[in-house]
Amino acid sequence: MNTQEIYNQEKLAREQEHMTRERKAKTKAVGRQVAIWGSIVIVLGLIVWGMVFLVAHYESPSNAAAISIENSIAADDWVRGNRDASVILTEYSDLQCPACGYYSPIVNELVDELGDNMAFVYRHFPLPMHVHAKEMAVAAEAAGKQGKFFEMHDIIFNTQNEWSNKSNVRETVMEFAKTLGLNLATFEKDLDSKELAEKINAAVTEGNRIGISYTPSFFLNGELLPNPASYEAFKAEIVEKIAATKGVNQSSASSSNEKN
């Protein structure tokens, strides 16, 4: 072997060593990337899973846990379904609240389906930030004086998007009254009546006394029912209650009697 050969061999060995080192470094870098992205995916996954868990299981509107109401129907309550049923679903509601508007058709469907075995009671709780909520409540009451409370309630909820952002809803309400075939002169007089304004104010005072903090607030036989996420979930709660009270109380299932 001459010096040239030795030199070449040494050079080759050096190059090989260099390549291995480079490959090692590369593997290390890839490993590092995998570790970084892997842990990010795991951490983000855990966070989202944790959120889903917390929202699904623990989040209920604040200070709402302990409140309850009397399990009865008052003489001036608006009732759908069977007044004498052993199950009473009571709603404290705001006609301008989108969530209440969302639940309105759900509740109507519940009454259609389970109305023989349950009473649905609607009570006003217009929230201060909804500027037209009180006026709409009065309009529903004024229609109620002519026997069409729930008809007005339905129109108001169904068209919520159309009037919520208007500055003045008097014309809208008069349109509704016309659609329902109400006596317009009487209706308009009732809209401005002190009696109805006071009735709504009294309902707000009562809601505050109970401790209602959000709308819609539902009570099933006097106990607060956290808002069910779907029609099916809602129906299941009521069906269960009907089954539970059936054995105890064999109430005469009279025909649906709506207060109109």
Binding site: L44, V52, P98, A99, P128, M129, N165, S213, S230
Partner: protein
């Protein structure tokens, strides 16, 4: 470059917090059919308004995806030391910034209700955009490397 690295990490943290905020709203959207109207918050009005979804997709989900993309790009930039990726993230942040500006406008002038979670997201988007701009300006005259170690 040290300063760009600091900016990158700020970008990373902001996009992470933004992701948490938007992900929370998305989870709420899918789990709670509807948030109730509470006396203290205008969120339900905002989150149930017609502007809360785009073609049926909740805006909060789009926000979460946007933050996730920004977060991912920044992680890639920091872990490889490639400043080009950071500049790309900064460019993408314009989308979130403009969308937030539009949503804030809707809250103030159209819906007339303010949702705290949405405002937090708008503030974060704006901050990310500002950090992104600084990144672009600062990286213009420097080598395409953020990491202080390794390459150089």
């Amino acid at each position: 470059m040290k300063k760009i690295r600091v900016l990158s990490i700020t970008f990373l943290i902001l996009s992470f917090v933004g992701f948490l905020d938007a992900a929370f709203l998305t989870v709420e959207h899918f789990l709670k059919a509807i948030p109730p109207c509470a006396i203290v918050s205008g969120c339900s009005t905002v989150l149930t308004s017609q502007w809360s979804t785009v073609f049926g997709i909740p805006v909060s989900l789009l926000g979460a995806i946007d933050y996730l993309i920004l977060f991912g790009l920044t992680v890639a930039a920091l872990s490889t030391g490639n400043v080009k990726l950071q500049r790309l993230a900064a460019k993408v942040s314009v989308v979130g910034f403009l969308a937030s500006a539009w949503l804030v406008y809707l809250q103030f002038f159209v819906i007339h209700e303010i949702c705290l979670y949405c405002m937090v997201s708008a503030i974060i988007s704006t901050a990310i955009f500002a950090v992104g701009i600084s990144c672009i300006i600062m990286s213009k005259n420097t080598a395409a490397v953020i990491s202080p170690e390794e390459q150089g």
